[in-house]
């Protein structure tokens, strides 16, 4: 890692939420248009987070706040490692760590709704993790390195050699972005939520921190998508935009499903698409 990349990493602290906020804002706008509504202003996510920080601090238990802060810190750290060109496996494992903090935060209040949300978030983690690991493994098989720098430096478009892995990754990306049909733990839409799932007991600034972390995470996950098209920045950015539009479309066109089909289908996709793609790489 040279200084340049470390700078990229550090700049993520600032640009992460900026870009993430605009993406989420556009998302809400586009969602509204798909439903025939006008929708909120593009800057709405910033207003929301700003407001949350202006609210009174309430908590069921003080340590709740601590776990959520830990979640934010580790999400930011993960993103920094990613954008500084670090090791993908480290990124994946640190991301898991961050989510474990979030889940423990939800558990700590022992509120029934947060509890159910936490269990579901765990199921989601279990559904996602294998495919994300396979994604990293696939990139390693092609480029010979787990480091983001080296993966980007690889000449060709990874999508051509890793189509199965890419589709599999898109599948679990829906979980990660908390989009329907896989928004089991907590959703942005009140209409399909059991109170507010995982985040039920987070209020005011604590919720603000959670939302902020979600912005960081969104940007980093889209960074993963970019890696598949990284050979050319233009194709990369177009691909990321297209992928996100597809996610929004799926979000609006489906309803939430129960955890059983979510988990099982994610694993089947992982084994079939991911596994076959990786084995195929050897045969080629």
């Amino acid at each position: 890692m040279d200084l340049m990349h470390i700078l990229y990493g550090v700049s993520f602290i600032l640009f992460g939420p900026l870009i993430g906020g605009i993406i989420v804002g556009l998302d809400r706008k586009l969602t509204a248009r798909m439903q025939g509504r006008v929708g909120p202003p593009v800057l709405q996510p910033f207003y929301d987070i700003g407001k949350l920080f202006q609210k009174e601090r309430i908590a069921v238990i003080y340590s709740e706040n601590f776990w959520v802060i830990a979640y934010l810190i580790f999400i930011v750290a993960t993103g920094m490692i990613f954008f500084a060109g670090g090791d993908l496996l480290l990124v994946i494992f640190a991301l898991t760590l961050a989510h474990v903090f979030l889940i423990i935060g939800a558990f700590s209040s022992s509120s029934p709704y947060a509890h159910v949300g936490a269990q579901r978030e765990l199921i989601q983690l279990m559904a996602i993790e294998p495919m994300v690991i396979l994604t990293a493994v696939g990139m390693y098989q092609v480029t010979g390195s787990f480091f983001v720098i080296d993966i980007l430096a690889y000449g060709g478009l990874l999508i051509f050699v890793l189509p199965g892995v890419f589709v599999g990754f898109l599948y679990v990306l829906t979980f990660k972005l908390r989009k329907s049909p896989f928004d089991l733990a907590t959703s942005h839409h009140a209409h399909q939520e059991l109170v507010k799932g995982l985040t039920t007991e987070f209020a005011g600034p604590t919720l603000g921190i959670y939302e902020l972390a979600h912005l960081y995470e969104t940007v980093m996950l889209l960074g993963f998508v970019y890696l598949f098209f990284g050979a050319n920045p233009l194709t990369g950015i177009i691909a990321v935009i297209l992928v996100y539009i597809i996610e929004i479309f799926v979000d609006n066109a489906t309803t939430r499903i129960t955890w059983q089909p979510a988990l099982i289908s994610a694993w089947i996709v992982t084994i079939v698409l991911g596994g076959l793609n990786l084995i195929g790489l050897y045969l080629l």
Binding site: K51, K55, A190
Partner: protein, 147 residues
């Protein structure tokens, strides 16, 4: 700079409405009225809410729930009573179980009249609530007790 006015999240509670007003509240979320253009979201969770929208009068059973929910909303917060029932008890006023309007249990900031209240007036009421919300925030910032 205040973000509160731009992102008021509401919590809708049916104290003992005939469901007429509830339908109208939900109508505000439909594409025709689309309150999300003001950043308004229906949260369904007091801990995330800023505006407490209540329909129907308060009865003996719901009064403790209304009180609890009100306590669980982080300040600054405002209460909007939607419909005549929420204002005074309305046609149910004389029922054996009805205590009266919302103000019998918690302080109300905005009353939206109508039976049922029209979506336009509900939106008007909420917009009116926003400036009260803003005042409360300023008061809270100054260290006065938030209410």
């Amino acid at each position: 700079m205040s973000y509160l006015k731009k992102s008021p999240w509401i919590l809708h509670y049916d104290a003992s409405s005939c469901n007429g007003c509830d339908i109208e509240v939900l109508a505000c979320l439909t594409p025709l009225y689309d309150v999300e253009r003001f950043g308004i979201i229906n949260t369904g969770n007091p801990k995330h809410a800023d505006i407490f929208v209540i329909t129907g009068g308060i009865n003996e059973q719901s009064s403790v729930v209304v009180k609890n929910i009100y306590d669980q909303i982080p300040s600054p917060k405002v209460v909007v009573a939607v419909g005549i029932c929420a204002a005074t008890g309305g046609v149910f006023r004389e029922c054996y179980n009805i205590k009266g309007g919302v103000n019998t249990t918690i302080p109300v900031d905005v009353y939206v009249p109508g039976c049922a209240a029209r979506p336009e007036s509900i939106i008007d009421g909420i917009v009116a609530a926003l400036s009260i919300l803003e005042e409360k925030r300023k008061a809270m910032k100054k260290g006065e007790t938030p209410l």
